[in-house]
């Protein structure tokens, strides 16, 4: 069971990748499939590693990320 | 009812307060400063707001903000100041916000001078700002009519959700005449359920003056045009005076209307069959009434304190069926009764042709 959960709204995400630089664990990457608006949203590679710090959500200009923690 | 001797500028201000105007934003300019000076003490007496803005640009956008809250609000200025307000007037018309603007117009173009003139007719009636919009334009010719039209201006603004301009001139603003403040009885107005007052517990609202979608913007324009047609059907107003079957029909608005009344009276003494047609609503222009009135006359003489602005609307109405003549002065030169009479004699002797 992961200690934290990152929920990415794939439709709101525009693939700016700012969260990938903010994540201290480096577990966010741009995915290969585009969303209905033609953007490549981010995805979590390894949720087990997530610290639940919320940095990704904080810096997301499109408010596309929610973070939950135990 | 009690008659009070009042200057036009103060009368319009008092009438505005009595009509429920509670906010005024303006920037000083001659010849209408008495309006703001009066309201600066009068509005606080009724719990209202008087604010001297940093420019007419700011003033008209303050009006926009206050109008969006559903309050009765006005501004006033003269030529150069009203030019600066055109951006805001276009926005008010687009957002369908009610407000009243008084223009005690003066000599133009440019800074011009501070003498009375009617050279802002085009600006008031034909748009002035950008886009396909109209102001409701009312043209009083006496201080009493200025008072009466001020009540009507606030009513029409609310009824049609449209900015209204009262187009006076420096003479009307400065003139002292006895007036009564008869509160007219208007039919009830619909509630301002569009007003922006914070969403409270209801759904949120917004007032904007843009639509980036072509279909949406065209739809807004068509809606505005329907409103303007309705105005034409329902709110057109004019005054006639003189011979029921005139040879020459005199047409003039505002201050010139008073002069033309004297011309009709004096002409009668000289055996002339003259009548006056004085549009009170410049937009909507009383087209049908003028068309009727023009039937059977030998000619129409348009007199204005400009060099031929309303003239174009008169010509459009009669469409060449009747010869239309023009006499005008501008820059603060006032047409005189004797000069107009002389012109009329010339017309009748066919010394003057179109």
């Amino acid at each position: 069971m992961p200690r934290a959960r990152v929920v990415i709204n794939r439709e709101f995400c525009k693939g700016c990748a700012l969260c990938t630089y903010a994540c201290p664990r480096g577990i966010l990457v741009i995915s290969r499939d585009f969303n209905s608006r033609g953007y490549y949203p981010v995805m979590v590679t390894d949720e087990e590693q997530c610290a639940g710090c919320g940095f990704c959500a904080q810096v997301c200009p499109d408010v596309a990320i929610a973070v939950y923690r135990e | 009812m009690e008659k009070i001797l009042m200057r036009g500028n103060e009368a319009v201000a008092e009438a505005a307060v009595r009509a429920g105007c509670r906010l005024y934003f303006g920037y000083p300019i001659t010849p209408q400063n008495e309006i703001s000076e009066y309201l600066s003490f009068r509005l606080p007496q009724v719990g209202g707001v008087f604010l001297q803005a940093e420019s007419e640009v700011a003033a008209i956008h303050m009006v926009y903000g206050a109008a969006a809250t559903g309050a009765r609000v006005m501004t006033s200025s003269s030529g150069p100041g009203v030019s600066l307000m055109q951006e805001g007037l276009s926005c008010l018309a687009a957002a369908e916000l009610p407000c009243v603007v008084v223009n005690m117009s003066r000599g133009g173009p440019g800074v011009g001078n501070i003498q009375p003139a009617q050279s802002d007719y085009f600006q008031a009636v034909k748009g002035g700002g950008h886009g396909d919009y109209r102001l409701i334009v009312l043209a009083p010719s006496t201080v009493q009519e200025l008072v009466d039209l001020t009540y009507r201006a606030f009513y029409l603004a609310d009824k049609y959700r449209n900015p209204v301009e009262i187009l006076g001139d420096g003479m009307l603003g400065q003139m002292m005449e006895p007036v009564t403040f008869r509160e007219p009885e208007f039919p009830p107005l619909p509630p301002k359920d569009w007003a922006i007052r914070g969403k409270g517990s209801g759904p949120r609202k917004w007032v904007v003056c843009l639509d980036l979608d072509p279909k949406g913007l065209e739809a807004l324009n068509l809606k505005l045009q329907r409103k303007y047609r309705l105005l034409e059907e329902q709110e057109t107003d004019y005054d006639t005076f003189g011979d029921p079957e005139p040879e020459i029909l005199l047409v003039g608005f505002g201050t010139v209307g008073r002069i033309l009344k004297s011309v009709v009276r004096e002409g009668k003494k000289e055996g002339l069959k003259l009548a006056l047609f004085r549009p009170i609503t410049l937009f909507p222009f009383p087209k049908a009434a003028l068309f009727e009135k023009a039937k059977g006359v030998k000619g129409i003489l348009v007199v204005e304190m400009n060099l031929g602005q309303m003239l174009e609307d008169v010509e459009l109405v009669v469409r060449g069926k009747v010869p239309v003549f023009f006499l005008g002065h501008t820059g603060g030169v006032i047409p005189t009764v004797s000069e107009i009479l002389e012109y009329v004699h010339g017309l009748l002797k066919e010394e003057i042709r179109v």
Binding site: K14, L18 | V49, A59, Y64, A66, G198, K205, L210
Partner: protein, 252 residues
């Protein structure tokens, strides 16, 4: 599970219309969050700009008025004078507030108008395609300064926050950036103080938000936030520029 971060309810559930990496959305999220936390959404009225964020009224769940380019401070004045018990804020870009609307913002501040103004400084005109703004840095290339901004020709980048802070009517002025979580936390605190300044009747408040425009800067979103930190912050230092009563310059 505990919520670490969720989209505020006061931000409507629809995707922003801004370019990837643009901070207009982030700024609006913070404003929405503060409005929600202060519990004032039902009595707040926003005034939008003409600029990339013209559709702000589509995103924050409060009543809105949008008028002409640059006139938001005057419109906000009209609203506030008509409804003094409402919370009124305006939101403007640098062209809107510091070029065409300079007179209006200076006088709104000088009157101590009880409104809160948000000023998104991205050093270019975004909506019209990246022309020079009053805040464009010296040497910065834009569509209308192809060789870079030359002070001999175009004058100097305009520090509006400092300019307004010398006026008696302004009560709280701060400059913030949103490039890191720590800055974002500070920005939110400044936004809260700005609204409280208004609600406590202290005077005019303004938050200047440094914001990247990756599209018109011709950079990736990451390059743009780095450029903002390297180039913009030194010229437009962050911190509280004015807190009524004292004139501190500290970062909150």
């Amino acid at each position: 599970m505990k919520v670490v971060f969720e989209r505020p309810k006061t931000l409507l559930e629809k995707p922003f219309t801004y370019c990837p990496g643009c901070h207009h959305g982030l700024a609006q999220r913070l404003i929405a969050e503060v409005i929600e936390e202060l519990g004032i959404a039902d009595r707040t009225i926003g005034v939008g700009p003409i600029g990339c964020s013209v559709y702000i009224y589509e995103f924050i769940d409060v009543d809105f008025v949008v008028g002409a380019h640059g006139r938001a401070p005057a419109i906000a004045t009209g609203i506030k004078r008509s409804l003094p018990d409402r919370v009124v804020f305006s939101y403007q870009g640098d062209g809107d507030i510091a070029a065409i609307g300079t007179a209006e913002i200076i006088h709104v501040a000088n009157r101590g108008e009880l409104i809160t103004s948000f000023f998104v400084n991205n050093a270019v005109f975004g909506m019209t395609g990246g022309q020079m703004a009053p805040t464009t840095l010296l040497g910065q290339k834009t569509k209308t300064t192809p060789l870079g901004r030359d002070p001999q020709v175009h004058g100097f980048p305009f520090r509006l926050g400092e300019c307004l802070s010398v006026l008696e009517g302004s009560a709280y002025i701060a400059r913030v950036a949103l490039t890191r979580p720590q800055f974002i936390r500070q920005a939110k605190e400044c936004i809260r103080k700005a609204f409280l300044t208004q609600m406590e009747g202290k005077g005019f408040s303004l938050i200047e938000i440094l914001s990247p425009c990756p599209t018109n800067w011709g950079m990736s979103p990451k390059e743009a936030v780095d450029w903002l930190e390297e180039k913009m912050i030194p010229y437009f230092p962050l911190g509280e520029l004015k807190v009524k009563g004292c004139n501190s310059r500290e970062t909150p």
